[in-house]
Symmetry: C2
Subunit: 81 residues, 2 copies
């Protein structure tokens, strides 16, 4: 079983890294970009002995407590069989 | 219109950052984890004047040429209306 965790900055939080990427990309000639924000992405391999509900609960807790900063970041969790 | 780009390491490539996260998470008492790999995630805001096909083509090129390292990383692109 595999879990995917996406962590991104909350809407109000400044993202200087994203702004730098946007600037570079525009210099390289890409147009029509209004905004770029960078987040993190985790692929977590899980023992398939865990049920889907238990896996989701465990991974959500891991995302909240370890993988994200709850002050500045949001996360979402996907479970794949 | 919004594009999401996911960049992750190719399967054979070592991920010491992911291994360090896995080790920490196990020390904190999470069990049943076989593997953690960290990737990057970009949210790109696009002018809606671009059609979906043009947006996908432009963002794929950006992902290939700027956002990922084609030697060690794979990427995937999602376009949302």
């Amino acid at each position: 079983m595999k879990a995917k965790v996406y962590v991104n900055l909350k809407p109000g939080v400044l993202d200087p890294q994203g702004k730098a990427i946007q600037h570079s990309v525009e210099l390289l000639g890409f147009n029509g970009i209004s905004d770029i924000r960078q987040g993190k992405y985790f692929e977590i391999g899980l023992d398939s002995a865990l049920g889907e509900a238990a896996a989701r609960e465990s991974v959500s807790r891991m995302a909240r407590e370890v993988l994200s900063n709850p002050i500045t970041e949001d996360f979402s969790v996907e479970i794949e069989a």
